[in-house]
């Protein structure tokens, strides 16, 4: 699943209003831009949501994508989060079958989890579920390591990211608290 094209992480601040997510994803669809992952949540201001999208340049330069996004009336700000200057995290839940024929492979699977320093969050008779957080590359490696066992389900949150250091978007200073 390792992708050849360089990916970009966009942090998109939007007004927290109905239909805004549709406008953003609809724009990606209409202009044939790719969405590798997408995560949405509120911010420090309840009137503002943050959409984090990982995309690539296969269809258009990243500047074109950000300029098109900025045209949406409900989009307040678009930031490209450079991986060197920001922290990127994703959470993944992996359910693994621990029954192999008559044998249980539970100890081996737990061993892999320990090796990666990730948590086991659910244990059942024939399966266990592992929770892992990290950069996409670490999660990829974990999935690879679990491939010899039977992976029943994978659930990924999509990447979220934040800039390093004091570099922030001050929503209230930029837009005025009452204007949001």
């Amino acid at each position: 699943m390792v992708n050849e094209t360089k990916t970009y992480t966009l942090s998109i601040l939007v007004e927290n209003k109905p239909g805004v997510l549709t406008r953003v994803t609809g724009l990606f669809a209409r202009r044939a831009f790719n969405i590798h992952s997408l995560a949405v949540g509120t911010t420090e201001d309840v009137k503002v949501s943050r959409i984090t999208i990982v995309t690539d340049e296969s269809q258009a330069p990243i500047e074109q994508i950000t300029l098109q996004l900025q045209k949406l009336i409900n989009v307040l700000k678009v930031q490209i989060l450079d991986s060197a200057k920001s922290v990127h995290r994703e959470i993944v839940l992996i359910k693994v079958n621990t029954r192999q024929g008559k044998d249980s492979v539970r100890p081996e699977v737990i061993g892999v989890a320990n090796l990666f320093r990730v948590k086991v969050v659910d244990v059942a008779a024939e399966s266990i579920t592992i929770e892992a957080t990290g950069k996409e590359s670490k999660l990829e490696a974990l999935v690879q390591a679990l491939l010899p066992y039977e992976i029943l389900e994978i659930v990924r949150s999509g990447t979220i990211a934040i800039s390093r250091g004091r570099d922030i978007i001050n929503l209230h200073r930029e837009f005025g608290e009452n204007n949001l």
């Binding site: 074109q64 900025q70 009336i73």
Partner: protein, 634 residues
């Protein structure tokens, strides 16, 4: 004062400020200075129609089809520079508008479209005449609102007008639920609206301007590409000033015809698929392309990586996303075009700039203009006449219309449908002023012309509105002739009847071995079209076709002045009659040659270098001016 309204509800009269949403909507439109609304009522919006009174400050024009309301608003907006307003009911009425919305948004026409919606509590229940019009139109609007409370109506409508007209113009859809229309709120105009994410930039950056000026000073073969943005920005005066100052030729897109007078020496005419040879040469051989409010559409560029291949590019546009979208740019100038031109002119003047000697460049282009004038294609007309078919050359007819129309009114408005006749109208009418050329460029919507003309007439009732329409287009929207007749908005339709869907037929002629699949508008079971000879009584000699419809009788049924013209010697007289008719709409049917072709032509997807003057002549391929060099240059 209270009066008893429908349903025995107490309705405050409109002088009080406690009003139902329907009255709030009407009051808001009045207070925003709206003078004309195009629409058609229905269940979900009937309360608003009930709120319209004789004293209402705007005029409502009742169309016959909602698509017509949309195009009429667009014609109104293009010819007046003011936003067009549409009002229709929910469901099918709203979906009938989709084409007109997409059309206007593509051509950056400011519209505010108001649709009724089912009651708030019925949304999502598949209620009668419920359609998610906000969802349906999402990809083809600039923005949209769903209003569920009457207290939001005034501010959101104000915001809609602001968004539609600020920055790059576009369509804003406002969907209002029946609940919002019927519940009460205090009305006060000037409600504030917050649009924190919407701050279009008005002025280009200083250093980009400097870079642009540098490029201009160092260019020996500049060309200005004027797009629709120059019209929307009302920048035609500055454009001409600028062209004179830097002594550069100007080519225009289809959309921008008239922004520089065709008769001005700087104008090389239209560029693109059916543009002039001189325009194609100018963009292909220039060393500097100054694109103003143009979006590098495929119809203009041809094969994009061979477009203006040797040129540096200055691109000025109000929409930052247009810059660099299709073509790399050396000097991007974001901002209002008129303002940008002002700044360029000021800076160049301040630097005491005088245009360098560009006589080689001009000589090259002028020679092409002389050698390859517009192509009248009389041959096909003559051949057609010999065969007892439509004898008129559509190009000559349209040229004549242009001359006579401007003789009577130099500010006459020309509206066109989509097809061959549109290209001929662009080429042959003689466009001298901006805002007088109304047509569907980006979407290319057949049927645009008649309703759009109606809107243009509503905006500028003192000017004559001339429509160049095709027999195919006419049959898509001619129902608005009723609106035209009844509302006292007479338009003059010059119907270019070639009996065919001419533009696709032209492609079949040139690219599909004359396999005329489904483009003949008179096809029927075998022999059908040959049985009936078109023309009534003495007036034989028209094209042998089915005679369906009989355009003259159809037009007469709408009480239009209707004339069929089949012979060259009748052309002028008929157009004169049309010019003099000021009460009723006019439909003049010109029976023209079916095989007439639009030339020059760059086949879709091919380089502009391969432009064909006629099917066998490709002047830019073998003119000896290889690459970026032109004769007389080192």
């Amino acid at each position: 004062m209270l009066r008893v309204g429908k349903g025995d509800k107490l309705v405050k009269d409109s002088n009080s400020d406690y009003l139902d949403g329907s009255h709030i909507l009407v009051r808001t439109l009045e207070d925003l200075g709206v003078d004309t609304v195009f629409g058609l009522p229905g269940g979900a919006i009937l309360t608003v129609y009930d709120a319209l009174e004789n004293s209402t400050k705007f005029r409502h024009i009742l169309v016959r089809h909602e698509q017509g309301a949309g195009h009429a608003a667009s014609g109104y907006a293009i010819s007046s520079g003011k936003p067009g307003v549409v009002m229709v009911t929910s469901g099918p009425a709203a979906t009938n508008l989709v084409t007109a919305i997409a059309d206007a948004n593509m051509d950056s026409v400011p519209l505010v479209v108001i649709t009724g919606q089912v009651a708030t509590n019925l949304i999502g229940t598949d209620a009668f005449q419920e359609a998610d019009i906000v969802g349906i139109t999402l990809p083809v609007v600039k923005h949209s609102f769903l209003i569920t409370e009457s207290s939001d109506i005034s501010s959101r409508i104000s915001a809609a007008f602001h968004i539609a007209t600020t920055g790059r113009p576009g369509v804003v859809l406002v969907d209002i639920t029946k609940t919002a229309m019927t519940s009460y709120a205090h009305y006060n105009f000037n409600q504030k609206f917050e649009l924190p994410g919407f701050n279009p930039k008005q002025q280009p950056e200083h250093q980009c301007l400097q870079a642009a000026i540098e490029l201009i000073i160092n260019s020996s073969r500049p060309v200005i590409l004027a797009g629709g943005g120059t019209v929307r920005a009302k920048a035609s005066e500055n454009l001409l000033k600028f062209a004179k100052l830097i002594h550069a030729p100007v080519v225009t897109t289809l959309q921008a015809r008239g922004v520089i007078p065709d008769s001005d020496m700087h104008s090389l005419g239209m560029v693109g698929m059916h543009g002039t040879i001189a325009s194609a040469a100018a963009v292909q051989k220039c060393d500097l392309l100054i694109a103003l409010g143009a979006r590098f559409s495929d119809r203009v560029t041809g094969k994009i990586n061979e477009f203006a291949a040797y040129a540096k590019v200055i691109h000025a546009d109000i929409d930052p996303a247009e810059i660099g979208k299709n073509r790399q740019v050396d000097a991007p100038l974001f901002g209002d075009l008129n303002e940008t031109l002002n700044l360029l002119i000021e800076s160049l003047t301040a630097e005491k700039y005088t245009a360098q000697d560009r006589s080689n460049w001009w000589k090259y282009l002028e020679n092409l203009q002389i050698e390859y004038p517009l192509y009248l294609d009389n041959e096909h007309a003559e051949e057609s006449a010999r065969n007892g078919m439509g004898a008129l050359s559509p190009q000559s007819v349209i040229q004549k219309v242009g001359q006579i129309a401007k003789k009577y009114d130099e500010n006459a408005i020309f509206v066109s449908g989509v097809g061959q006749h549109q290209m001929w109208a662009s080429q042959f009418l003689g466009h001298e002023k901006p805002h007088n050329w109304v047509q569907s460029a980006g979407l290319g919507t057949m049927g645009y012309a008649i309703p759009a003309a109606l809107g243009a007439k509503a905006a500028r009732s003192n000017n004559a509105v001339w429509v160049i329409d095709g027999d195919g287009c006419f049959q898509m929207t001619n129902q608005e002739l009723a609106t035209s007749r009844l509302t006292g908005l007479p338009i003059k339709i010059m119907l270019i009847n070639n009996g065919t869907l001419g533009m696709p037929r032209q492609w079949q002629t040139l690219l599909f071995n004359k396999h005329y699949s489904q483009t003949d508008l008179h096809d029927g079971p075998d022999g059908w079209s040959k049985e009936i000879v078109y023309g009534d009584g003495e007036e034989k000699g028209g094209a042998p076709n089915s005679g369906i419809p009989n355009f003259v009788k159809l037009a007469e049924s709408y009480d239009c002045l209707a004339i069929r013209v089949t012979r060259l010697e009748e052309v002028e007289d008929a157009i004169e009659k049309a010019a003099k008719e000021n009460e009723r709409p006019v439909v003049i049917e010109f029976v023209v040659a079916k095989d007439a072709l639009v030339f020059p032509m760059v086949p879709a997807g091919k380089s502009n270098n391969s432009i064909m003057y006629t099917p066998t002549v490709q002047p830019l391929l073998d003119d000896g001016n290889i690459g970026n060099r032109i004769e007389g240059e080192e």
